[in-house]
Every structure is written in C-alpha cells, then in structure tokens.
Symmetry: D3
Subunit: 118 residues, 6 copies
C-alpha cells in the first residue's frame, strides 16, 4: 500500500500527457485554466488549495481529494487544519462524504509516513 | 472475493477510529448525530435503514450502499423487499444507478453466502 | 401563498399531458415505469412513498419533495414520521439539504392548512 | 409568461457583463474556453449543442437547459429530435429529471410561440 | 428587488424556528453541529466561511451561496477575494455553476448597495 | 490490464442476469426502457450513444463511461470525435471530471489495442 501515492501520481501524470497529446484545443485550454486557478491571485495558493480540497470532498471525487491533500501539504497546511477542512466538507456534504473522508485520511497518513522516512 | 465483506468492515472500523482519534470536535459530533439518526424514533430502525439505503443508492456511494445493506439485513429486510428498495432508487436516480446496483447485489449475495455457511 | 399547492399540481398535470402528447416512446414508457414503481409490491405504497421522499430530498429536487410529501400524507404518514424522514435526508445529504427542507416544511404546512379548512 | 425568454436572456447577458467586468483572470479565461467548446471542431455545432443540452438536463440546471434549447433551435434541431434528447436525459438521470423536463418543455413552447408570431 | 436580502433572511429565520420547534432530536443536533463547524477552530471563521462558500457553489445551492456570501462579508472577505473563490468553484464545478454564479453576484451587489446606503 | 475490458463486460453481463432473475417488475421494465432509449428514433443510434457518453461523464460514472465508449466505437465514433465529446463533458462538468476522463481514455486505449491485435 506504500506505493499508492506513487502509483496515483504516475497514472495521473501519464494520462495527462496522453490527453494533452490528443491535441483537442478546448481540452488543452481547460487544463491551462485549471492550472492558472490555483496560482497566487488576491488569495494565496495555500487558501486556494484548501478551497480546492473542500470542493473535491463535497463532490466526492477520491482522486481530486488525494491530489489536493498533496498540494495542501506542500503549501504548509497542517494535519489539524486539514481536519477543520474535513469538518466543513462533512457537515455541508453529509454522511455520504464519510467513505471519501476515510480514504482521504488513509492517503494523508501514507503521505506522512513517506515524509517521515525521508 | 469471500473476504470483501470482512475487508470492508475492517477498513471502515479502523479508519473510523483513526478519524475520531484526531479529536476534531465538529467531526466527532457529526458522527454522534449520524448514529442517533438510525435509532428508534417515531419510525422504527428497519424503516430508517431502508431510507438510508435508498438515499445511498441515488447518491451513488458504494460503501454507504454496502453498509446499509448489512444494516437492513440485520433489521430483517428480506431480499425481495431489498429489490423493491432498489427499484425506487433506480427509477428516481436513473440508469446511472445501475453499476452501483450491480455492486450492491454482488455484496448482498456475498453476505447471504456467508450466512448460509455459518 | 395558499395557492402554491394548487399551482404546483396544475402545472405538473398540464405539462405531463403536454410531454406524453409528444408521443416519444421511451419517455412514455419511462412515465409508465415511474407509476408502477410506487404501486404495492413486496413493500406497501406508504413505505415506497417514504423512500421516494428521502431520495428526492438528498437529490435536492423541490418539486419531487412537494410531490412525495403529498403522496406520503395520502398514505397516512404523520407529521412526526415526516420529520424522521427529514432527519435521515439531512444527515445523509448534509446542510446543503436545509434550504430544501425549509421549502418542504413550508409546503407541508400549506397542505395541513388546507386540510384543516375543509 | 411570454417575457420569460426575454427576461432570461437579459439577466444572463447583464450578469455576464458584470462578471467579466470584475476582471478575474481565471474566470475570464474559463468563459473563453466555454465559448470555444461549442464551436465547430471535429463535431459540428449542432451535435455539440445537443451534447450540451443532455449534459445540462442530467445535471438538472434549468438555466443551462433553457440556454441549450435556444442554441439547439438555432442549429436546426427539430422538436422531435429534442424529445429524443430528453428521453436519453430522463433514462440516464431518472425521474428526478422530470421537473426540469417540464420547465424545459414549457420554455421550448414559449420559444416556438414567439417564432410563430414573428 | 432591494428586499431580496431581507426576504431571504426572514424566510430562513422563520422556517428554522418552525423546524427546530418540531422537536426532532437528530435534526436539532444536526443544526447544532452546523453552527459549531463555522466557529473558530484551528482555522479562523473567515477561512471556514470561504470553505463553506466554495462548497455551496460546486453543490449549486443558491440559498447556501447567498448565506455564505453574507457571512464572508461579515468576516471581512473583499469582493476581489470573493471572485477568487468563485473562480475555484467555476473551474472545479464547470459551466453548470455559471447560473448560480450570476445569482450569487447579483446577491452580492444587492448586499453592497444596502451597505452603501446605510 | 489487457483484461480490464473483458472483466468489465463479464461482470456487467453476469450481474445483469442476476438482477433480472430476481424478477422485480419495475426493475425489469426499467431495463427494457433503457435498451429502447438507444435504439433508432428520430435520432440515429450513433448520436444517441454520444449523448449517453457525455451524460455519463458529467455524472461521473466510470462504468457507464466505459460502456458508452464501447457503444460509440461500435457506432463508428472516431477517437477525434470522442475527444470533442470529452471536451463538452469537461467544460460543463468541470475539473472534477478529469479523473474520470483519465480512466475513460485509458479504457479507450485498451479497446483500441485489442482491435489492433485482432
């Protein structure tokens, strides 16, 4: 299971290349806007990643949750802050969010284990 | 595949402990309300579990479906009643529910197999 | 506001006639299945309407909620039972359900007012 | 009610100007990609608008449905073709789509009335 | 239209009283958890309200959006920050969010007009 | 991974038999309507399958996406047309669709590999 983080990132990266290589103009530009959205604007990247995480949780997308948990960690979001984000997602989105919360926390724990080993 | 039921319950139980151990007040209280909701009120637990199952199906959450199928069986919901619940979920939620129905029925069959072997 | 119930039912009935009159075979048969689903099966119509109500609430469809509240009342669901159904919808679907709960309860109150006046 | 089409388009146009005037770079670029998506690609605009309509229906967004019904009519989609699109949306998305179908058909009828009067 | 803000708050407040008065234990406790969630935790109330706003937008609930826009303003979120939140919601949730964005911005403009007049 | 296509179809077919064998009248008739919907109507099957694909993508159901990609290929939809469908799904449904797009394209590539080997 220690490889779940690497596997996730490898598949993500490989398929993004495949998709962008198909050279569909609207898709390529959408990916561009997606990247731009999380860059520093009036809000800093840390806040934007926290927004991306809570949005992914209420929409219940495991891969998006994993991705934004990684990004949040890189922006310095602490585990305690992460659980405050989770609490908003849970109350807004309801108990239907719980299975995604379980998998998200499992992913966070793997990330933390890998950092501890480095 | 016979272990899918046990694996599901073990992961569920382990991650619930991990999440509650993080000691986030809102999350802990949400879990408390979640438990309270399915206790006998004006409606009995059997009816409430059937409501939880149909809600999980139209929201298309496999883990929630598995969980409520287990609870429904414990409350004495028969397989034929279960399929009546499935029919409401299917018609309200549309063909997009079908893949979740397939996995839900596969889970129900595993549960029944294990009961038969005991 | 006392006419909201009548207006809702009149629009619903008029548009159903218009849609079925368009004579699209798949649409007509879908409407047939929809009606069949709430007829007595292994589960009685009262239970099925309660299932339809909770499904409509977590999917957050005001018209569907109004419709199933009417049907539930006709099947003898009491107000206290109705609130137990609402509680399951709220906990499964989260705070995002609350605005629909407010409008649903307002609709239920209008229905009760009209019955009291008869 | 004859003004619902005009009111919808006036509000849509006024608020789009307001939003783009706020000069948020990601939002402006998103609106650009949105426009580009329905331009002729490998698929023609008529097919793309039909895709936009069915997507709007299963996601149950009344304004998006109204907008794409207008666009479909401009691209020459007939009423009978429109009902075939509606049937796919209904079966994929379930009975929860019906209230949106009713309002969509009412909007289509208003559009047709206005065209007949011109 | 200047009264839309007051009307929204009056209906919200009146129906909350009605719902809590029904004395359903799970519903009352859910409302309690909902309030608790936005209180200062590890994250401050401003950040939590921003999280609540983006979650409401991607789940496309107009009333929830109006409510959190009000709360964000009270916590000092500027209009420019608000549009950064909108951009994340738009890119995560897609063009289906646009009609809700239009109504949200219209609500924000009314709020600003009323503040300017005071 | 070369077996993912076969495994998917085998599970789908086996569970459909199991579900229809349960002899629930509403479920059986729903499956009948589902089949009817994609048959030639005013629109041809190719267009209907494209509609089914985009609807499945914005509702984010991996199995439905896989199924409709297969059907689209059988109806002669080219890869370039497929990416135009993907672009509409992406823009309407937002970045939350991307993980499903990745898995859909991976499935399409496997289908193409198997065809090439025959």
């Amino acid at each position: 299971m220690a490889n779940r983080v690497q596997e996730f990132n490898a598949f993500r990266s490989r398929m993004n290349d495949r998709i962008l290589g198909a050279d569909n103009r609207a898709i390529k530009r959408f990916f561009g806007v997606d990247t731009l959205t999380y860059e520093r604007g009036v809000l800093d990247p840390k806040t934007k990643e926290m927004l991306g995480l809570v949005a992914s949780m209420v929409l219940r997308c495991d891969d998006c949750i994993s991705y934004h948990i990684q990004q949040c960690k890189e922006e310095g979001v602490t585990d305690a802050e992460m659980f405050d984000i989770f609490s908003v997602a849970l109350v807004v989105g309801g108990s239907i969010v719980i299975p995604h919360l379980r998998r998200g926390v499992a992913f966070l724990d793997e990330l933390n284990d890998q950092t501890a080993k480095q």
